[in-house]
Symmetry: C2
Subunit: 344 residues, 2 copies
Amino acid sequence: VSVRVAVDALGGDYGPRVAVEGAVRACRENDIHVVLVGPRDLISTELARTGGDGRITVVDAPDSVAMAEKVTRATLKKRSSIQVAIEQVRDGTADAFFSAGNTAACWAIAKLVLGTLEGVDRAALAAVMPNLSGHTVLLDVGANANCRARHLEEFAVMGSVYAELGLKIPNPRVGLLSVGEEETKGNELVKEVHEVLRASKLNFVGNVEGRDIFLGTVDVVVTDGFTGNVVLKASETLATSMMKLLKQELMRSWRTKIGALLSKPAFLAIKKRVDPDEHGGVPLLGINGACLIGHGKSDAYAINNGIQAAARFFTSGVNEGIVAALKMLTRGGGHHPATGTGTV
Amino acid sequence: VSVRVAVDALGGDYGPRVAVEGAVRACRENDIHVVLVGPRDLISTELARTGGDGRITVVDAPDSVAMAEKVTRATLKKRSSIQVAIEQVRDGTADAFFSAGNTAACWAIAKLVLGTLEGVDRAALAAVMPNLSGHTVLLDVGANANCRARHLEEFAVMGSVYAELGLKIPNPRVGLLSVGEEETKGNELVKEVHEVLRASKLNFVGNVEGRDIFLGTVDVVVTDGFTGNVVLKASETLATSMMKLLKQELMRSWRTKIGALLSKPAFLAIKKRVDPDEHGGVPLLGINGACLIGHGKSDAYAINNGIQAAARFFTSGVNEGIVAALKMLTRGGGHHPATGTGTV
């Protein structure tokens, strides 16, 4: 049976044109069933243009949530494409949700409509950061500003399960973000969480520093939503600024213009390497349903990747894995129940 | 009268050879008097090699602090080049201190030897980050993990004075690092500090996000030492990784190799743009003395720049400005005493 993904047809900077095109590609290339959610007329027009696909169904949702719209306003729109698409997952008419739209709105609506997984107190937004040898999962980046130790413990478990089942990294190395590798450094929260993670069954390698996010020394970096959000936004902007600066400098003379032309394959390779579109989307971890969010600048290719990633997230069993791992934590105080050493 | 700078001759990855060469350059080019501190024999040999300069004096300090040495160990070495060089400032035999050595050790020793400025509860390490149009001062990046509102208020004042007098940015715009521009977002500390800064006489533009560090939308970004340190280390590593990745990709084929050769002026321009060596060094703000720290990878050119920057820091009156600005804060609760509205 093929996976059914509910897609927010209005999500992303390029609107329904690319969302519909991406959906059609996902159906054709991967035998995914897509439920396109948005204004019916708009979607029909786009479907007619691309030729459509028998695996696509349309669900009408007249309202849209703007990319910069405030969450408090977005959650009031009960017939928005985001809300109605997420309801498909709740009602069992879809297995997963994908949007390239307003991340904060998707997150808030997903929490309201689907709730959190059993045992999850705080859902997390995970970012998948490129490093020299692969990817590092950084979480939480979702602006969960005031985190307690229990929340970071959950983030560690969810990040580890996602890295293992979602990204196929065996026995993922988990690091706790701090300001020094010595255990004595870091703030009070870090010290508390360090002890908890050391006693857990996770492959906890200890505290890591900001640089480790991009070095590939660990697979999962755990931090509070404030620090994670700041680091993510700073990194995204730095990378973009550097590429912009390079372009400016390359356009200064004929020599460098020709150099740029010849160097193009290298620039494209790097773009592909650091491009979030290649990866497909970031998951809302801890939500009771498979929800993936793509980059706002997603083109049809990226939307297709995102829909595939949402389907994979569903079949990979990340959510079931999170529930099982958290159950072990609460039952065994970090020990596997089978060892008999856990306190029940 | 020319400024006298005490230079840690052992600081930096390249040892006394480049430190001495940089010192000689600083004397010749800018009429600075340098007190070179380190093992006398070693310094004499290097001075003989470069020809020396009449404006250089040597003070013997037999011990060295390694780049990765723990602060607790480094502070025990009472005859280290760092300790003895900072003592020159304390004893009035030098006006400023410069080292390209172990930043954490310099900081700890400076606090022990010189203490903090009047009114400063917590000294801060400021980073000067390149952005598309100039530089942004980010502080604290010094791993002051547990900050209170009063500390961030001090950071804001010190960063603003440094930007204005040290970097010659008129009326610097100060932003508070948070996870959203809306005042309601951010953690408890941010909310508290936001109110304090809004009531101050600083040019406070409100909360900013991680991206603003590299956008040039503000001149000073204030944050706690945990977040600042993580962002700084992540950014440095991301920038280095991207350049490394680009180099790898450019070496893959003859076409891109020739492209790289032709593009070289652009790469050099970017390197210069983001290179900390160009800037000279980062100040230890709030320390009762002019102390600047250069990058470990400083060559003679960078050491020369750093020594000049230390001299400029001394003459620019940043420290006097900080003391005056903090006095206004405590006296007037954010109001200038002349307005008569302050509570004494």
